[in-house]
């Protein structure tokens, strides 16, 4: 039933571009991109509670890969290569960092994004001598939307699968208590690495798919740390350890951004900040948990 409903929603979403304006399509792309990012982020961070700020390191790498390779090989091949590069980076990074815990991991992943950005900049400046790169790809907004929708749907399906699979249980146990996890026979490094690489691949692909819309990329554009922050906030807001949590955080927040910035171009950061603080105080465990609490309270009232 739930699967049928999800599939119906997916079909409806896939057909949506035929019924909306270009701006509507732009909104859909934006919303689906953030859903994909937040859900992809949650594949690793949702259960393990490792708050990663490296989202943009992967997202940007995806975009940059397309910028570098888009004239050298066919588009589908570029996407595959981007995914592989993201996975490879995640593997190397994961191997060296996944023993860091708590806030140290948070700051590390942030530093990582900055390091990647600085190194690419330095390389481009000193070796290739050009910094900006152009993406003149003949990919329409609709195609971008469908690709992103497919990636987003695949991410959610993957999350659902993981949650039923032993990997999901392992991640939950790691999130609760790594010591118990290890002594129950869960290989910590391999489990975390698997999830981290999966998550990173999704994030990299999202960047690769989104990039043709930007036409021109340079490190300061593609490695915009705001993306990392927004992803975390959206996932946490909805409830990062639940299947539909990231969706529930990403969509309303994305729309709130859009409304506020259109309505109050000068003062919207103030409203947004207030809204944010309000949400943190009113919904401490995320929207989904808040909704559930409301539901149980209602049933209790009735009883």
């Amino acid at each position: 039933m739930k699967i049928a409903l999800s599939l119906a929603a997916l079909v409806a979403l896939a057909l949506a571009p035929f019924g909306v304006s270009d701006y509507g399509l732009g909104l859909l792309i934006g919303a689906v991109t953030y859903v994909t990012l937040a859900s992809g982020w949650a594949v690793f961070s949702g259960h393990t509670r490792y708050v990663s700020l490296a989202t943009v390191a992967f997202y940007g790498t995806g975009a940059y890969t397309v910028a570098v390779l888009n004239e050298a090989m066919p588009y589908w091949l570029v996407l595959i290569v981007a995914g592989l590069i993201g996975a490879a980076i995640a593997l190397v990074v994961g191997l060296s960092t996944l023993r860091l815990a708590g806030v140290y991991f948070v700051i590390f992943t942030f530093g990582l994004s900055e390091l990647v950005r600085q190194l690419i900049t330095w390389y481009e400046v000193n070796v290739t001598g050009t910094l900006g790169r152009y993406i003149f790809l003949d990919v329409s907004a609709r195609e971008i939307y469908w690709q992103m929708l497919a990636l987003g749907a695949a991410t959610i399906a993957l999350t659902a699968w993981i949650q039923r699979h032993r990997l999901g249980l392992a991640l939950r146990v790691i999130g609760d208590d790594e010591v118990v996890a290890a002594h129950s026979g869960i290989p910590l490094a391999r489990t975390k690495l698997t999830a981290f690489v999966l998550s990173a691949t999704i994030l990299t692909l999202a960047g690769a798919i989104a990039s043709p819309r930007w036409v021109y990329v340079e490190p300061s554009i593609v490695f915009n740390p705001t993306v990392s922050f927004l992803t975390v906030i959206m996932a946490l807001l909805g409830g990062a350890n639940r299947l539909w949590g990231p969706v529930l955080g990403a969509v309303p927040l994305f729309l709130a951004f859009e409304w506020l910035s259109a309505r109050f171009p000068d003062t919207y950061p103030i409203f947004l900040g207030l809204l944010f603080i309000l949400v943190v105080f009113a919904l401490p465990d995320g929207i989904l948990a808040g909704l559930e609490r409301l539901k149980t309270r209602k049933t209790e009232d009735r009883a």
Binding site: S21, D22, Y23, G24, L25, G26, L27, I29, G30, T33, Q118, T121, W122, E124, V125, N126, G129, T130, L131, G132, Y134, F136, A141, A210, R213, W214, V215, Y216, V217, E218, P219, S220, I221, N224, T226, V227, F257, E258, W259, S261, A262, R263, P265, D266, Y268, P269
Partner: protein, 404 residues
Amino acid sequence: MTNFSRRAALRAIALWTAASTLIGGPALAEGDKVRIGYAVARTGANATGAGITTIPNYELWVKTVNAAGGLKMPDGSQRMIEVVEYDNRSSNEDLVRSIERLASQDKVDLILPPWGTGPNLAVAPLFDRFGYPQLAVTAVTDKAPDFVKRWKRSFWLLGGGHDYAEGLVDVLKAARDAGTINNKIAAVSVADGFGIDLISGARPAFKQAGFDLVYDKSYPLGTSDFSAILSEAKASGADSFVAFSYPPGSFGMTKTAQSMGFNPKVFYLSVGGAFPIYPGIADGKAEGVMAIGGVNADSPAMQEYFARHTKEIGNPPDSWASAITYASLQMLEQAVARVGLDHEALANELSTGSFDTVIGTVKLEDNQLRDLWWVGQWQGGAFRAIDPADKPGASAPIIPKPAW
């Protein structure tokens, strides 16, 4: 019970009001207004650039036009301008969506471009697809000739990196040939598209002119301390210090050079050097500092523009891209007066017509503005254009620069 329902009703009313103001979006246009939209960076990394060069001029122009009764139409009627503005949050993704919104949702009559090279390139395909003419001002790119071919209704008004680099070389060469400076140059560049474009244009030009580039380093965006760089440059023995820099860097280097007593004969900066706040930053010792851009400070039109900008916005414009931004709006205004709001006719008129603006008479060549000032210098409290030296209104350079 009554208490509860009254509260609920109040809450519902409050919610409804809030929701309707939020969802309603910009009020629907009245038929006789011209709706002009733009999506500029109000927040994020590009906010400073847009806040100095782009937004004030957009606001000033709209104010001026509306005060005069509105935009003139070919039939002689006048229509007031109504602005639809979004914040692109310095993110290209948001920018692209905002332009889509302006074009397909708000269906505005005209769209003004965002600030910056990258953002202008990001929106170029959209302007092209929706058919809007794009007057890209704040985009410095050597690839403008290619872009014009790719996007027929795009106009590139600020030249390319090579132009500025070669302009600078002209000035330095003249001074070297006159024996005023030695042939050593110390150059630094900010590591982003703009800085790299300029330095990669400058390197061969310096070499060809027989200069010796004794110090040539780039520094990352976000560098705040220039002591090390400047002490190296000082030690290099070069008479000319050239910085392809952004405002924080331009300002930081000025202050550092002053405090460490670094007095090269030529002190050249890029973005920020022509900002009105620069003399203040330089503690009133801006005399002789060279920078990218420049204006004909003696032209009455320019003086009038400076005065109006100062009065309406609260501070003077910068002496490089501001005036050109304003000129691009005047071009648009005059083109509309001649051919109306039809995009194709407008683009055609912009491409072929000639316009009377604050920077003089403008006629585009191959959709590009080539008649530009490449180098300017602070002289007697004003930032004056010094290169091309043969362009009317050019001032003679002061070399060596007086010590700080």
